[in-house]
């Protein structure tokens, strides 16, 4: 038995630890996301939208968010979960609504958009929200942190830094703000489900889930009648 024991120990270690990277790579579920640069309207580049989930989904959640707002950061993983749960019937559109009360809100929106120009919008979106407590309290280091996140995501850093200051990114944020204004958005996060504004009482996980559920059911019954 003794001569077999090292084989058993090494075998167990190999199967539990070493195969993990390979398993993670092969079994990683396909994230239901598309590039943030997928244009919805061809009229102007600033009108393209960031969609998470099935782009052709019947139910649309439209979020106006500010990366520096703590409640937006709390909402983000929940919305991601909802989109996965209701895939392929629901999708999320994220729009920038940087609040003037937040010091870095504009810069961080520019960082996310600049990452989007290299096809990594949602990855940057997720890391910015997850690391929000760090960069929002980092003093003058916030910008350096955005660059380090871009570096981790494997972005072209020169291009990223140029894009952050570009007219294209600025126009895109302004376009989101203009839409927010036209829809009467007052703060962030602000959520619409199929163009229906969520009431104050529904701005919680239960409320969101209930309304998405209703929208999906309504859409299902409509398509069945057809």
């Amino acid at each position: 038995m003794k001569c077999y024991l090292p084989f058993v120990i090494v075998g167990v270690a190999a199967s539990t630890v070493l195969t993990r990277p390979l398993l993670c790579q092969t079994m990683q579920p396909q994230r239901p996301t598309i590039s943030g640069d997928e244009p919805v309207s061809a009229r102007h580049p600033a009108e393209s939208v960031h969609i998470r989930g099935n782009p052709a989904a019947a139910v649309t959640l439209e979020e106006f968010g500010d990366f520096e707002c703590p409640s937006c950061a709390n909402l983000a993983p929940f919305l991601d979960q909802v989109i996965k749960e209701y895939h392929p019937r629901a999708r999320l559109i994220f729009r920038n609504f940087p609040l003037s009360m937040h010091q870095y809100a504009r810069d961080v929106a520019q960082a996310a958009e600049a990452a989007g120009l290299q096809g990594r919008y949602w990855e940057m979106h997720d890391v910015l929200y997850r690391e929000q407590p760090v960069w929002s309290s980092s003093g003058n280091n916030a910008r350096r942190l955005f660059i380090s996140y871009a570096e981790t995501l494997g972005l072209d850093l020169d291009r990223f830094q140029k894009d952050m200051q570009s007219d294209k990114v600025r126009e895109r944020i302004e376009s989101d703000q203009a839409r927010a204004k036209s829809l009467g958005v007052k703060t962030a996060p602000w959520l619409f489900i199929d163009k229906r504004e969520m009431g104050p009482n529904d701005r919680n996980p239960e409320g969101v889930r209930r309304l998405v559920d209703e929208a999906v059911k309504a859409e299902s019954s409509t398509s069945e009648k057809k």
Partner: protein, 143 residues
């Protein structure tokens, strides 16, 4: 304590230490392979190091190579602890190579990137410890 027993204890310790290094390197390898952004605990330097071009060699994450190296050390040390004399021979060159690689990565962090990553420093400590352990193992003619 006999020399053989002392040697066995050192190999067991080396196997356990290598397992810690394996866990660290596997975590980083999974992050690198899946594209998930890792938790750096708020350290900008950590993002800087792990996102740099030095974190990959020919497109392969260094962490994956590290995981393979640690796994080799763990396996060989385990076999050596159970008395497989032939397992001792490759341990020294493998740990030697890991030691040199660690020196290179410490140089890169200190003088090129000017940033340190805690996972990398942990790995460096593990490698130095492993190097110390294999140096401390008495040779066969000391029995």
């Amino acid at each position: 304590m006999t020399v053989a027993r002392f040697r066995t204890i050192l190999y067991i310790v080396a196997a356990i230490v290598a397992l810690a290094g394996l866990a660290d390197a596997t975590y980083l390898a999974v992050q690198a392979l899946t594209g998930e952004t890792l938790s750096c605990g708020g350290s900008p330097d950590c993002f800087r190091v792990l996102g740099s071009s030095y974190a990959k060699v020919g497109g392969i994450p260094v962490a994956l190579l590290g995981a393979l190296a640690y796994f080799s050390v763990f396996s060989l040390a385990t076999f050596a602890a159970f008395g497989y004399a032939r397992a001792r021979t490759p341990l020294i060159p493998i740990i030697g190579a890991m030691f040199l690689a660690t020196l290179w990565f410490l140089y890169v962090q200190a003088f090129v990137l000017h940033a340190y990553c805690r996972y990398c420093l942990f790995s460096a400590a593990i490698t130095f410890l492993l190097a110390g352990l294999v140096i401390a193992v008495p040779s066969s003619h000391e029995e």
